[in-house]
Amino acid sequence: MGWAIALHGGAGDIPLSLSPERRLPRETALRHCLQIGIAALQAKRPPLDVVELVVRELENNPNFNAGRGSVLTDKGTVEMEACIMDGKTKKCGAVSGLSTVVNAISLARLVMEKTPHIYLAFDGAEAFAREQGVETADGSHFITPENLERLKQAKEANRVQIDFTQPIQKDEKKRTPTPDGDSQLGTVGCVAVNSDGNLAAATSTGGLVNKMIGRIGDTPIIGAGTYANNRCAVSATGKGEAIIRGTVARDVSALMEYKGLSLKEAAAYVVKESTPEGTVGLVAVSNEGEVTMQFNTTGMFRACATEDGFSEIGIWQM
């Protein structure tokens, strides 16, 4: 069997009327990150390295809701979280509440490899980051004008939104695009499997626009937003609260294990049956080199490739 890789830049209510100025930079980024991941797999880098590399790239891109470009809390700050899991060993690392760490996914990996713990958060995580000497920056690195605008709109609408949600209209059926009203961002993630069948998953995010300080979503919760074992690797995106209660990432594997479903069937079940419409998207790869990308939202920024030469980049349903 050959390697396979899939990545996402977030699922949500991405309007079909998304303007080219908003769409093209993201498509370019997805293509670029896919290439990076493919090159790493071709160079025989372990899947754990591949997913970290790709997610770092997505974090550094301000067009996605992770690292630079993270959406803002109700106080206008960033609080980033991330999680990485190695399928072969089931070792994992997670971080939450980061405000200065340029690459949250790399700190999650360091938690996994350099501490006796799995999950560090807030001040403790920031202190660990300093001990480890990872790259840090102040708020201005992460905060973008688009996200300041999104926060303003969310406050006006007085509601927490997945960053895709259209600004609130009195009549929900109307879809009047507002200038800078789009919030086509979401979590970022990557899953990969190499030709030996070793799997890894990584997810990173700034969370929900206008979230309460201290709010933790699904991304750093093993089994919810991120999961990998020796059967499959999954990274989910969408409404955190739904992904947590649906234990989405773990369930894909559990359905394969306990009900004998294929990767695609298991992902379809989770996305169509176990979670409410409009809340979830995921990318997954299996130990047999299969790949699937599914969502019950309007769209999901995504890309995938397999060793036999297949590749796909997409936003809405094909």
Partner: protein, 323 residues
């Protein structure tokens, strides 16, 4: 068979086999008291979710176990508590981490579930929410016990040398202790977590877990207790709470696993618990308590002991520590 309320409580898995009899009796008394509290609540038709909160509050308030007052200490000698609660019927959930002044973490977790748009709040954000909600707040010192201050000192020393002892002040033996939990000799390890799972007369399941975490943990360390699917889980089929080595519980998504094998493999409750303990822990050590919507109770652990108690509507009641 089937139907009727049921309740299980635990005070942590991984018990020092040399625990003084007096402490064992204290533990059993506390578990019995908590069970009785839960039983009268169930008899007066309190919903499962309320019973879980009530009982876990009682466990948190007593300094005996590692939650609330009596929590294990961080490497800095402070207390950072976490908890989660889940309501089976709609799988609503709430979780908190990094609490330092909230007297009853489980109640704040409940408020996150009921009164916030989110599922999980931590550290200063959680404390701020606590203030807004007007819950009872105390100084961090309230949670710290002399016993745990002594334990912390020994845990730090155990990073280089292993001790075998019973009570901090009387230690005078230097013996290699093979029994460890989470990297600490069993005699120093504070069995993490208290928990309660309940099914009420209507067949509604709920689960709750609360802890101070691992002795000598790094500040900011989050364990399995507040993670839905790891330490706590409830669905229309069951309510589950886990305790033991946090890493093993997280990697094994233990609480969700019990529910998943029931849902997807059709196993009954005890078989599900046994399966998960046997197959999903690898090298890890943990314990699980669970109830099903049919009024069944189940416990399982691969540790030396788990403080636990259970009761069902037909009058069955049992409290135990060892196998």
């Amino acid at each position: 068979m089937g139907g009727g309320w049921a309740i299980v409580v635990h005070g942590g898995a991984g018990v020092d086999p040399n625990l003084p009899v007096e402490r064992q009796e204290d533990a059993k008394r506390l578990l019995t008291r908590c069970l009785n509290l839960g039983i009268s609540a169930l008899r007066s038709s309190l919903p499962a979710i309320d019973v879980v909160e009530l009982v876990v509050k009682e466990l948190e308030s007593d300094p005996l176990f590692n939650s609330g007052r009596g929590s294990a200490l961080t490497e800095k000698g402070t207390v950072e508590m976490e908890a989660s609660i889940m309501d089976g019927p709609k799988r609503r959930c709430g979780a908190v981490s990094g609490l330092t002044t909230v007297k009853n973490p489980i109640s704040l977790a409940r408020l996150v579930m009921d009164k916030s748009p989110h599922s999980y709040l931590a550290f200063s954000g959680a404390e701020e929410f606590a203030r807004q909600q007007g819950v009872e707040l105390v100084d961090n010192e309230y949670f710290i016990t002399e016993q745990n201050v002594g334990m912390l000192k020994l845990a730090k020393e155990a990073n280089t040398i292993l001790f075998d002892y019973r009570i901090p002040e009387t230690c005078n033996a230097l013996v290699e202790s093979p029994l460890q939990m989470n990297g600490l000799p069993i005699s120093i390890y504070a069995p993490e977590t208290v928990g309660c799972v309940v099914v009420d007369k209507q067949g509604r399941c709920a689960a709750g877990t609360s802890t101070g975490g691992l002795m000598n943990k790094m500040t900011g360390r989050i364990g399995d207790s507040p993670l839905i699917g790891a330490g706590t889980y409830a669905s229309h089929l069951c309510g589950v709470s886990c305790t033991g080595e946090g890493e093993a519980i997280i990697r094994g998504t233990l609480a969700r696993e019990v529910g998943a094998v029931m849902e997807y493999k059709g196993l009954d409750l005890q078989d599900a618990v046994d399966f998960v303990i046997k197959e999903r822990l690898d090298e890890g050590k943990a314990g699980i308590i669970a109830v099903s919507r049919n009024g069944e109770v189940a416990c399982g652990f691969n540790t030396t002991g788990m403080f636990r108690g259970c009761a069902t509507e037909d009058g069955f009641m049992e409290v135990g520590i060892w196998e």
